[in-house]
Amino acid sequence: MYDFAYHRPKSLADALALLKGKPEGRVMSGGMTLIPTLKQRLAKPSDVVDLAGVKELAGIKVEGNNVVIGGMTRHADVATSADVKGAIPALAYLAGHIGDPQVRNRGTIGGSIANNDPAADYPAAVVALNATVTTNTGKHAADSFFKGLFETALGEGELVTSVSFPKAEKAAYMKFPNPASRYAMVGVFVAKTAGGVRVAVTGAGPSVFRVKAMEDALAKNFSSAAIKDIKIPADGLNSDIHGSAEYRAHLVGVMARRAVDAANK
């Protein structure tokens, strides 16, 4: 790891001020992605601004029809939150299946979605539930937040402050983990909300994506039978030693059907 200057602001305003004028500065939430990256010397930030002391960023609130999760909220807290379990159990389930207990004790939702790893779990929930990502400068709709491989709509100096998830009538997440890393090789989040049905897939492509054909079929008939004949094209999907594009395409179908069944339970 290269050395850097370390800061631990107590407020969002201080954090933003610290980042100002430091193009090579990076924020750190849980550090579960940033620190491994630094250890591999894949990044050389001048400054690391640790958000752990920014109390206003952590915590879970239910606001009307939405569950609002602060950017610094740890995966373990989402997984065990009574509010989340009550409103969107599938989201708690998802958080409880990110990494291992020690990763969940540190990693945060803000860090996860800002990083937008193609194999990360949260992006599937954000897109399927049509959540809104709030930052210090404004709001992003889920569909326009995730731009591509490790790419988001976040601008220079823009931080995720919270994510607001609308409650779901029915929802479930099915993850087929990569056998080695246990990240999502294919993860499918299916949700039926007031806004309609959404099917979001992570792990399979360069970034999270929706499966329109499945959404349409499920809107008419929310059952796994309704999507059993829908084939996902393998073109453009990820391929590695653990899964070919064809295999991932196949798994999207399997996981989607299982998610629908789980959502219907």
Partner: protein, 161 residues
């Protein structure tokens, strides 16, 4: 960048000057000479380095020393009440032959204690196996580790730890 850090490790106040990039595990091993916490990988996956920070199990290889500023850290060295009285989890590992080379052991024990507490002293085999996702052992085949943790849960409860 050199920074001063201060924290409590196993009940004792400690402090030191570290680089910003110094990991908590390096601080423990190299600055404090507490080599019970091990390093088994460079991708945050093996769990040999697990310690408790403010009551939660974390990978000390994936946390900067400065992030533990002001925290209460417990390591494997801080578990036993005395030289003769091991923590029930340590005792159970011994009783059940849950260690061979001993390298994964400190991390396993720290993860196991955290797991038992989070599950309110009630665990079944499948849960223990799933909860050990972040801890690799190459020697024991996990069989006896699982057994040891299941046996330790009630022992911890009755010992009130």
């Amino acid at each position: 960048m050199t920074i001063s850090v201060a924290m409590t490790v196993n009940g004792k106040s400690v402090s030191g000057k570290v680089e910003a990039r110094t990991l908590l595990v390096q601080f423990l091993r190299e600055h404090l000479g507490m080599t019970g916490t091990h390093v088994g990988c460079d991708t945050s996956q093996c769990g040999a380095c697990v310690v408790h920070v403010d009551g939660k199990s974390v990978k000390s290889c994936t946390m900067l020393a400065v992030q533990a500023e002001g925290s209460k850290v417990i390591t494997i060295e801080g578990l036993a009440e005395s030289a003769d009285k091991l923590h029930p989890m340590q005792e159970s590992f011994r009783e059940n032959h849950a260690l061979q080379c001993g390298f994964c052991t400190p991390g396993m024990v720290m993860s196991a204690i955290d797991m038992v507490k989070r599950h309110n002293y009630q665990l079944d085999e499948a849960t223990v196996r799933r909860e050990l996702e972040g801890n690799l052992c190459r020697c024991t085949g996990y069989h006896n580790i699982v057994k040891a943790i299941l046996a330790a849960a009630p022992a911890m409860k009755s010992a009130g730890v």
